[in-house]
């Protein structure tokens, strides 16, 4: 049983989501290789080679792959996947974008967003916004899998010394091109990687009031998130959204402020280790999952909280 993991990277370093995907791959079997596909990505390939327990790192370094356009990268992955039993990628926006294309090229199903591996061909995955967990069995010879990163503890990033091999095939479909990327610049940690997350919901009333969360986030080194209701109301941008259709997070501490706890939000944060809810409605469903609930008006509780930490 051999597995190819598609690395999530920025051409320079390996993103932590790769380490979660490797952890899942190692549950499938001990033979795990990593594919780094990008442009000027030698540094990322070297970083991948330091992950312990890897057979080898395959590095496809070409201008056609520089921005990891799905049209080009999927053709390469489908080719490199030939000798492997499984192809695994993290279920990030990048993995979600590319891997179904790979699966269709290989004429196999994709098993999306798995949260556990029951056996070599049987997996569990959340459906219906996490209301139900399905156990599914793949009948395909080759399996294309995306992994919910919060469900698998990442392997170590350092300590190994795998070899790096070049892959020279170039696939340029010539039908898509990169224009630009606007990545939100922030001193705060990334939402999916933060050990503490503080999120606001409709109860925040407007975007300005999110400033009340910022002071706390700065003191705790936390990332700021939001419920879909807060995003839909235009308080904050969509990339703040925690939930089934937004980001899935599982920090050590999750603080939900003015969030009622719709199922679609719970699906995105209920694997957090400790959950705190602050809401003035004592009957809000969020309290059913909170370790510590505080029934209070957030406009008085937040300044007090900031002063006390």
């Amino acid at each position: 049983m051999s597995t190819l993991v598609i690395a999530e990277h920025d051409n320079i370093s390996i993103k932590p989501a790769t380490l979660n995907a490797v952890a899942a791959a190692q549950q499938l079997g001990p033979e795990v290789d990593i594919l780094v596909v990008g442009g000027d990505c030698a540094a990322a390939a070297q970083a991948a080679a330091a992950i312990p327990g890897i057979g080898k790192v395959l590095c496809a370094d070409n201008a056609a792959y520089a921005h990891q356009l799905a049209e080009n990268v999927s053709l390469l992955i489908a080719e490199v996947a030939t000798p492997y039993d499984n192809v695994v990628a993290p279920a990030t926006t990048s993995g979600k974008n590319t891997m179904p294309r790979v699966a269709a090229l290989l004429d196999v199903a994709q098993i999306s967003d798995i949260i556990s591996i029951e056996s070599a061909d049987t997996f569990t995955r959340p459906i219906y916004a996490g209301n139900v967990i399905a156990t599914v069995q793949s009948n395909d010879g080759k399996k294309v899998i995306t992994v919910r990163t919060t469900a698998f503890d990442g392997v170590a990033a350092e300590g190994g010394s795998a070899s790096v091999e070049s892959v020279t095939s170039v696939h340029d479909a010539g039908i898509s091109s990169f224009v630009r990327e606007e990545v939100a610049v922030s001193d705060r940690p990334e939402l999916t990687a933060a050990s503490i997350v503080i999120s606001g919901g409709r109860g925040m009333q407007n975007g300005d009031n999110f400033k009340l969360l910022e002071g706390i986030a700065d003191k705790l080194g936390a990332a700021i998130g939001a419920s879909r209701a807060a995003v839909d109301a235009g308080f904050v941008p969509n990339d703040y959204q925690v939930g089934q259709t937004g980001k899935i997070v599982a920090p050590d501490l999750y603080i939900a402020v003015g969030i009622s706890g719709a199922i679609q939000h719970l699906a995105g944060m209920k694997d957090s280790k400790v959950i705190v809810a602050i809401n003035k409605d004592g009957d809000a469903p969020i309290f059913q999952v909170a370790d510590y609930g505080l029934v209070a008006d957030l406009f008085t509780a937040l300044p007090e909280f900031e002063a006390a930490i």
Binding site: A104, I111, F178, L253, I275, V289, A308
Partner: protein, 250 residues
Amino acid sequence: MKALVAVKRVVDYNVKVRAKADGSDVELNNVKMAINPFCEIAVEEAVRLKEAGTVTEIVVVSVGGKSSQEQIRTALALGADRGIHVEVDGRLEPLEIAKLLKGVVDKEQPNLVILGKQSIDGDNNQTGQMLGALTGMPQGTFASEIKIDGDTLSVIREIDGGLQTLKLKMPAIVTTDLRLNEPRYASLPNIMKAKKKPLDVVSPADMGIELKTHITQLSVAPPPERSAGIKVENVAQLVDKLKNEAKVIS
């Protein structure tokens, strides 16, 4: 310019879905069904492009059982011109849906195909990308803004941590994210008019497509319960608990 929009019939997003007691599947008896929310955004985008004069015809397609025609009629009431129902009963996998949609694409030759990024039942997030691979079309997934200029489609995509802009050579595929637009409601006169719009029914066999099962659903179960903790009296007690009991802040 012709736009093809795919819509799926799913459990209404307000319904709390439960596993059947025997764990064989989710309970779908007497449950309200609706057009998948992301597909509704896809229909709206096509209608806006038609209103702007960019698109001249909107064809809406749904793959599923006979009742999927209700969702096609909804899309027709929202502004689509005609419908195609690919009639298939039973559980359908994204790859098989993508193959059937490719059959429709081959026949209709649209310049633009718009789909939801995922359906809220299976949460797979695959069909648009798979259709891209099967047809050789480029894709703009998780789109929050699209612009058409000649035969070039410019797409702003929602990615982890920000936004990415791509240029795609048409014909192209777009999958919708939440912020692409806010769908309208169908007016009563338009609902009445939609009943008279053409709706063709085709079978997989008509298109020469044989369906396969790649994945077997063995069982479904509710997620593990997270038990409620305690209510604290005030902020001071909360901070004390977080520092000294949970030890998550210092």
